[in-house]
């Protein structure tokens, strides 16, 4: 027992030295990321190629905020990347990020997708759309989130957990548009229309439509692109082929843009922020600038099927084929404010149970 223990000790000590962020030629930047490494890798590799700045990363879905907070001014993290608006506003509320005044970021990112004082910046948006079966759902049968709660969809709706950040965010946008009471009534009615207990991710809902478990589902737009072009798992192409994508709550005759029904489709954003403790502040800002620039925005659009925040960047042809849509114009900080209220509504209507 004794000898292996020594070897193991040596190995672990060796390991502990290895991953220490080494300063490459152009320096480095340290990321805490809520986005999966395999999504970010092509972008970060391109950044390193272009600038010589090495990117180090820790990915976790939970706990990064608490770790950053505990590490305080000595935290090695220079920037945080997140997959939704909620985490960004949490960071602001905890006082863990610092303002950035960058002409490049201001030019690249529309005002509604960044914090007014530069505390966070949106990098891509994704629409929370409705997927509808091509044959079982008549054209025009569903055109708003409100429709999904209508009795004619009883037993025909699928969605992932009501407690998932994407659904919480959608419900929060509903509160921002129509108030808490109306939002609760909607959530309750939607719950009673569910074909099955909320489960699985957004792709699983499309699969369920193809398999005939339900007719309509809520999901994020980019999943459609990922399924429709999935050469590694061709069966997913069949799932995608079974549904059409509907951008809910578009303004039209009898439903003007100012009306709540024509408020636009709910969008969420992925984004980034520079930490208060950043030792490599300039590199962190350069990274955000790079991610919001033409080159990176194109990769986001082409590989992840997300909507670039920078105007003029072409969409993936498939995404473009879904047509343009009006996004809900409410500022996302407003939506983030109602997250807790939305989570409580999900409890009150027992959405998942």
């Amino acid at each position: 027992m004794r000898k292996p223990a020594v070897v193991v000790l040596a190995a672990v000590v060796g390991l502990s030295i290895l991953p220490s962020p080494a300063g490459a030629e152009g320096g480095h930047v340290n990321l805490y990321s809520y986005r999966q490494p395999f999504l970010m890798k092509p972008l970060l590799d391109a950044f390193t190629r272009k600038t010589g700045i090495k990117v180090n990363m820790v990915y976790a879905k939970t706990g990064m905020l608490e770790r950053l907070k505990a590490e305080g001014r000595n935290s090695p993290a220079d920037a945080v990347l997140t997959a939704d608006i909620g985490r960004l506003t949490d960071l602001v509320r905890a006082g863990l990020v610092q303002p950035v005044a960058s002409a490049v970021l201001r030019a690249n990112i529309p005002a509604r997708y960044r914090h007014p004082d530069g505390l966070w910046f949106g990098l891509t948006t994704r629409a929370r759309v409705i997927y509808a079966d091509k044959t079982r759902v008549k054209p025009g049968e569903v055109s708003t989130y409100e429709d999904l709660a209508d009795p004619r969809f009883k037993g025909r709706v699928c969605t992932r957990s009501g407690k998932h950040a994407y659904n919480i965010s959608l419900l929060a946008s509903f509160i921002a548009a129509k108030g808490e009471k109306a939002a609760e009534a909607w959530a309750r009615a939607l719950q009673s229309n569910l074909a099955r207990r909320p489960q699985g991710n957004d792709r699983a809902q499309v699969r369920a439509i193809m398999e005939g478990e339900c007719d309509v589902a809520l999901g994020n737009s980019y999943y459609m692109g990922k399924m429709a072009t999935n050469d590694k798992k061709p069966e997913q192409k069949a799932w995608a082929a079974a549904v059409t994508i509907i951008f809910p709550n578009q303004p039209r005759a009898g439903r003007p843009g100012g009306d709540a029904l024509g408020r636009g489709t709910h969008v969420n954003l992925s984004g980034g922020a520079v930490t208060k403790s950043a030792k490599n502040r300039d590199n962190a800002i350069r990274l955000l600038e790079f991610l919001s620039g033409d080159f990176a925005q194109r990769i986001y659009a082409e590989q992840n099927f997300e909507y670039p925040v920078k105007s003029g960047v072409p969409l993936h042809p498939l995404v473009a084929s879904w047509g343009t849509f009006k996004a809900d114009t409410v500022h996302l900080t407003e939506v983030a404010k109602y997250r807790t209220a939305a989570a409580k509504i999900m409890d009150r209507v027992a959405f998942d149970h």
Binding site: A5, V8, L9, A11, V12, L15, S16, P19, S20, P21, N30, Q36, P37, F38, N56, M57, V58, Y59, A60, K61, T62, G63, M64, E66, R67, A70, E71, G72, R73, N74, S75, P76, G86, R93, S161, K163, A165, R196, R197, Q199, G200, N201, R203, A204, R207, A208, M210, E211, G212, E213, K232, R339, T340, A342, A343, K344, D347, A350, D352, H353
Partner: protein
Amino acid sequence: MGLVGTRFGGGAGTFRRIDGWTLGTVLVALAASIPIFAVIGLALTPGESVWGHLASTVLPLYIRTTLLLMAGVGLGTLVIGAGTAWLVTMCRFPGRRIFEWALLLPMAIPAYVVAYVYTDLLEYAGPVQGALRASLGWTTKGDYWFPEIRSLGGAIAVMTLAFYPYVYLLSRVAFLEQSVCVFEVSRTLGHGPWRSAFRIALPLARPALVIGLSLVLMETLNDFGTVDYFAVATFTAGIFDVWLNMNSVSGAAQLASVLLLFVLVVVYLERRGRRGRRYHHTSTRYRALPGYPLRGGSAALASLACLAPVVLGFAVPAGVLGRYALTHYADTLEADFLTYTANSLGLSSMAAVITVAVGIFMAYGARLRGGPVVTAATRFASLGYAVPGAVLAIGVVLPTAWLDNTVDAVLDSVFGISTGLLLSGSVFVIIIGYVVRFLALSFGTIEASLSKVTASMDGAARTLGAGPAATLRRVHLPVMRGSVLTAAILVFVDCMKELPMTVILRPFDFHTLATFVHQYASDELLAESSLAALTIVASGILPVVLLSRTIGRSRPGHTGAPDGAGATP
């Protein structure tokens, strides 16, 4: 450590002297409890209370679901674990020698992976229901009934399959350590195998069964991966909901603390229930166990009973992973598996060695100086296992980062040197986390083993002039060799599978096999994660087989070959 113990010398009514063992044991236990204290401290920080909302909505559901889950998993693992352990230890039937080790295999597969695999197979869109629909002409959901895998029942089934090896392992060790005399007496009284099991073997094995069961239940309580995937509203799911969706980490810590209180009460009640009883025996006759030969139908049933958990808990999940790995291995081939595997193995072995050392020290200290303070401190220290990993990780981050920042501030103001963060974000913190999280495994296993060594052994050694440390080294450790190795392997295998703490505590660009699985599995990309998941399973198999062999030999005065009926003392 050389002070004479008070247990044997202290008079009634006098204050016990605080000696090295008492102090050492309490200090080690307190150090291991720091992260738990940090969680409780977090619970006490002011914040908007979530209790009013929870109590009026989902709290009753959380409690009901959690209790049902615990009851189901507890009963399931007890029946399967103790049942199969009894069969392979005491009965003779075809395949027994293989089942001895094969029954441990499900331990190598993380519960969340089992959950993913069975959902993939059994959901409406999966191959099983698809085949049923195709062959029987059903077309829609309404045409037939099929159990819903993503449900409380599904969670109970998955966790039972993933966790029963704990009970199997500990009860098998206990059955092996039982003297043949008690069974001979039992047979003389006309008891068959069933009555012997229920009247003699099970009651005698109670400490081991209770520890196995409590490990299972704590693991059930701390699980988030499975209940999240199945959307089962347990207390732990509630902790994460409050933390992430209601943005209240103090509220989450409050729920976690209530969970701890609940575990403490249950542990206390069980202890009180067997206060004053002793579970060792004085006979030294360890002739090979009798081995009731089973024939015909009962032999086939026994084989089947042992085969089912192995197939469902191991063969099916490993098979599905293997199939995916074959078709999708190219997707993740560029990943540096060698490094991830080395990281996993290095961290897990290191953590296993330390955790077992701490476990031995605490268990022996508690035996030596069984006062209320020592007992309470050691029990409390092993509660980390009941806390959800991600919450405990925050409990580790808080004190280590505080220590780092304090050292930095002091050195900076005195010498003008900034040390930055020394511990936080290093692999050492991951090891600290593992030790705190899995201390219950080593402490429990070793305590169970110690409880079966009669106190007269200590007395004899001490009479012969050996101090407590020498007694431990020369008497207890040799006797407990099997249990010590069992503890080490339990901790090792659990560290290999550990996810939530590693994810939060790790340094930049640091991957273990489990964190690599996680980045895909968290998005339900089972195929992409299959190769790494399979590597975890493969790395777990060897230690598990090794473990089984060790246990087979652990029977005192017995040198393996459990079939060799002729072995005499």
